[in-house]
């Protein structure tokens, strides 16, 4: 197998605050191969977005990457000078955010915004730029793109706005798109459409994707592999089908049990008891232990990282494994 496109190893991103250091990303490792879709799933606040921003060097001040490496085609991009990072952003790795009505600039035409994004990496005439933008809008299924270029974001529907954002992210044919909950703010019917289209787009263009969502159902319909995140760590990862069929980590099991499609009709959805721990005062050892039905005293020690073929998990008492 060829070297992965992206190799993240031991990534730690922290925010110093008045109350202490928030360890938002706490030793995360994963790889993404060319053309692959990796799903990153976990409850809100588990550090998914911060992970995404860390990859392109856009952690909000005063946060910083405290440790670890992010290798893009073998080259570590953590701590690169800002102009070198800027040359990567949008060109090799681009990002799509949750709410398209917040990401697009309301007072610039869609065409102007796309042209700014184009010119961030290329010298291009207005005419050629326009043609590129029209093609990009067409690619994401926006009807009458030539005319729509002169429209403002508020003249688009939510789904169409997100398509514009996706078109901007794809302008430079990046190797990797980080999609941070790109359908969460949309209507359910439009969500499904965009999911299907983005999956097809990724396949057709050979773009790899990190698909971030708090919703296991969405992720599982998109991703080739999934990584389950909890309190700043990846607690389980592996091929989507395997992990869903046969989860190893009790937290993954809990997420699965709270999916409506899996619970029997008439039965209450089993939600995971308790709440996510504060990242300021993480318990020693496994952060999920206080909520875990299988927890034992030993869980106060660091859980070992188990590797089982193409899957990994971080648990003292994994499910479905004979001790």
């Amino acid at each position: 197998m060829s070297a992965p496109l992206l190799d993240v190893s031991g990534l730690e991103t922290q925010f110093p605050t008045r109350d202490g250091v928030v360890r938002a990303v706490n030793g995360v490792s994963f790889t993404v191969n060319r053309g692959e879709i990796l799903g990153l799933v976990g409850e809100s606040g588990s550090g998914k977005s911060v992970t995404g921003f860390s990859l392109i060097g856009l952690v909000d001040a005063p946060g910083r990457i405290a440790a670890g490496s992010v290798k893009l085609d073998g080259r570590d991009i953590v701590g690169l000078p800002n102009d070198e990072l800027r040359a990567i952003r949008g060109k090799r790795i681009s990002m799509v955010f949750q709410d398209p009505s917040m990401t697009l600039n309301p007072v610039l035409t869609v065409g102007d915004q796309m042209l700014l994004a184009l010119r961030a990496h290329e010298r291009i005439s207005a005419g050629d730029g326009r043609r590129r933008c029209v093609a990009a809008l067409e690619q994401v299924g926006i009807p009458d793109p030539g005319r729509r270029l002169d429209s403002y974001p508020h003249q688009f529907s939510g789904g169409m706005r997100q398509r514009v954002a996706i078109a901007i992210a794809l302008l430079h044919k990046p190797d990797l798109v980080i999609a941070d909950e790109p359908t969460t703010a949309l209507d359910v019917s439009i969500q499904a459409q965009i999911l299907t289209e983005m999956k097809a787009l990724a396949r057709d263009t050979g773009t790899a994707m990190i698909w971030i969502s708090h919703d296991l159902a969405t992720v599982s319909s998109m991703a080739d592999r999934i990584a389950v995140m909890y309190a700043g760590r990846i607690v389980e990862s592996g091929p989507t089908a395997t992990v869903l069929r046969d989860p190893r980590h009790p937290y993954t099991r809990g997420l699965l049990d709270s999916l409506p499609a899996i619970a029997q009709a008439g039965e209450d959805l089993a939600s995971i008891p308790g709440t996510t721990p504060s990242l300021l005062k993480l318990p020693p050892g496994c952060p999920f232990a206080p909520r875990c039905p299988r927890a034992q005293p030993v869980c106060a020690n660091e859980p070992p990282l188990a590797v089982e073929g193409d899957r990994t998990f971080l648990c003292h008492f994994p499910l479905g494994v004979r001790a």
Binding site: A87, F97, T109, L116, A120, H154
Partner: protein, 323 residues
């Protein structure tokens, strides 16, 4: 658009009309101008003749309608003090105030907005803190005091700049302007700085607050994630996002300075409208006061209209009737 304009012009006419009635009644209440018009030892006959000549013996409403009828034909009466038509008197003073105000407001904006944006972009830098200290100074030091200090320092002590008057002027469009001659420009510098200081502080504050807020938006994050340079983000995205409050304050400050540059004009003996209105109040020059206050109302109406129109230009969401 045309309907909007017509509606606004009708509104404006109504406001000016109401203003004229209020001012007319108000000025009538201030005092009887007959005592300034004739010397105290004039005979009863002269007194009666003068009263009849100006129509002071008529009821107030009749005087008002006579005034209104003439005003509609552009005749605002004779100044009691200057013995010339009020319209011509005001027009002869307007250019002096106009050029001083424009210099002050434009200078404050062109300097204050970039400084404020920088202070919002890098709030922690030493330079930004110095800028903010300067703006606090601009807010808290009274205009007359700054004017006196300026004169004392630059005119009296250093002898670099003249202390008062308009200096040499040159004609343009049949009106005399100071900014067209080197001497006139020198004369403008100190009063313009005096007038500009508060507006400069205001623009810094506004631009800083807007920029700080805008830098946290997803719009800026998304633009950065697309690889835009910080410069492009600031100039193309942030400046457009914060433009509306800046334009609003620009308009308000422009209008109020045009109307009430009294203190500065008095300190620097600048022969503008502010000095004219103060003089006319002390001498109970009734026609000047009435016409002047109506003109002020008109200023604000025109400026408000210009601000509204620029809103539509700056923010597409405010354009009505266009989908």
């Amino acid at each position: 658009m045309l309907g909007f304009l017509i509606q606004r012009i009708l509104q404006a006419a109504l406001v000016v009309l109401a203003m004229s009635a209020l001012v007319f009644a108000g000025v009538f209440a201030i005092g009887n101008p007959i005592d300034v018009l004739i010397s105290p030892d004039a005979t009863q006959d002269i007194r009666a003749a003068t009263i009849a000549k100006y129509g002071f013996d008529r009821p107030l409403w009749e005087q008002y309608f006579t005034f209104l009828g003439r005003a509609l034909h552009g005749d605002f009466g004779q100044s009691f003090v200057y013995n010339m038509p009020v319209g011509r008197l005001i027009l002869s003073r307007l250019p002096a105030t106009l050029e001083l105000t424009l210099a002050a407001v434009l200078g404050a904006t062109l300097l204050g907005v970039p400084l404020g944006m920088y202070a919002g972009y890098r709030p922690q830098s030493r330079f930004s803190k110095a800028v903010m200290a300067l703006s606090i100074l601009g807010f808290s030091v009274p205009t007359f005091w700054v004017g006196l200090v300026l004169i004392f320092a630059f005119a009296v002590n250093l002898g670099w700049l003249p202390a008062g008057g308009r200096g040499a002027t040159a004609p343009l469009f049949g009106v005399e302007w100071s900014f067209l001659t080197a001497d006139g420009l020198q004369h403008m510098i100190l009063p313009a700085i005096n007038l500009a200081l508060f507006k400069f502080a205001l623009m810094i504050r506004l631009a800083r607050a807007g920029t700080r807020e805008a830098m946290l938006t997803d719009t800026v994050k998304f633009a950065r994630a697309a690889g835009l340079s910080e410069r492009t983000v600031l100039l193309r995205h942030v400046l457009r996002l914060i433009a509306i409050p800046l334009v609003t304050v620009f308009g308000l400050e422009f209008g109020s300075t045009l109307a009430f540059a009294v203190v500065t004009e008095t300190i620097f003996s600048w022969p503008g409208l502010g000095k004219l209105i103060i003089d006319s109040i002390t001498s109970l020059d009734r026609p000047v006061m009435v016409a002047y206050l109506m003109l002020v109302a008109l200023f604000f109406i025109v400026i408000n209209l210009a601000v509204d129109l620029s809103y539509a230009a700056l923010d597409p969401r405010m354009r009505k009737g266009r989908a």
